[in-house]
Symmetry: C2
Subunit: 177 residues, 2 copies
Amino acid sequence: MRLTQHDATAPTGMRNNYVVMRPQNLSVGVLPVHDDGSVTLVGQQRFGLMNYSWEMPEGGAPYDEDPIDGVKRELAEEAGLAASHWREALKIELSNSITDQRAMAWVAWGLSAMPIAPDPTEIIRVTRVPFGDLMREIARGSVRDMFTVATTLRAYHMAHQGELPPCLAKAMLASVR
Amino acid sequence: MRLTQHDATAPTGMRNNYVVMRPQNLSVGVLPVHDDGSVTLVGQQRFGLMNYSWEMPEGGAPYDEDPIDGVKRELAEEAGLAASHWREALKIELSNSITDQRAMAWVAWGLSAMPIAPDPTEIIRVTRVPFGDLMREIARGSVRDMFTVATTLRAYHMAHQGELPPCLAKAMLASVR
C-alpha cells in the first residue's frame, strides 16, 4: 500500500493538499449461488474493528492479473469452490475521497467443490445459508462488510430483473421474506 | 485521520503486525426520495480517482455528534434539502481489512427545499433523476461510489419488501426497467 501526497488546485480554484491511499490492487469478490438458491459465505476475525465478519469470498487481484483469475483464486482458496458460470454484478469505487481503490464483483453459479489450499496466515470458516437469510442479516445490520452488502443487494436486483437464469433467480427469491 | 500499528497474535497463533486507519468519524449518507419517486444526487470531482462522481449526499459525522444530526447537515449543505421522514437503511463497515470506519445510511422522504450554505472548499452540482435511472447507472457501472450503490440497492429492496410507504415504493419501482 502506498500513500501519495499532492499539492493541487481544487475545482474551486483554491490550492489544496490531497493524500491518496493506493492499495496497488483491484478488490475482487464473488457471491457463489448454489442451485437451491443458497449462498456460501466465509467468516473471519477482523482486527481493525475487533469483531467477526461473515462475507462473500473476496480479496485483491494485482493490477497485472486478469481480475477473473483473481476472483476464481479467492473462491477456491476461501470457499473451496469452482464455478462454471460468472456474471459481472458491480464495478465500483470503495471510498473515493481517500483511496483510488476500485472493485469488481460477480455472481457465480454452477458450483463444484475444489480442494482448499488454506492460507496459513488466515483462519476462515465456511458456511452455506439461504439467500433470504443473508438478505435479512444485511437488513438487520449483522452482515456489515460493505462490498458483500452491495453485491448481495445487486444479486437481489439481478434476480428480479431477469439478469440471472430463471430457475436460479426463483430459488434465490423463494427464501426472501 | 490516524494510522495505528499493532503487534498482535493472529487467530492462527502467529505473530502479526496490523496497521489500522482510524478516520475519527462515522460515515453518514442519505438517499433523498421525492414523492414522484425521483431522487436527488450530488456530483463532484474526486481527486484520488481523477474522475467525476454522482453520489447521494454523504459525509462524516464526528463521534461526539448524533449521526442523524450529521446526515441532516449533509443533506442540507450538499443538496439543499430537509426531510420529514427518515428510515435507517444500512449499518455497514467500509473496508474492514484496513480501516475501523463504520457507516450508516438512511432513506429520507417528505422533502422540502432548504437554503444551501455551500462549503467554500467544494464545488457540488445537484441533480434529480428517476429512481430507475439511478438503478440502471449502477448496473452499467457509471454510478460507482460504493456507499451510494449499496444504499440505493437497499432502497430498492426496502421498496419491494414493504419497508417504505406504499405510494412512495410504487413511484420508485415504476421507473425501474
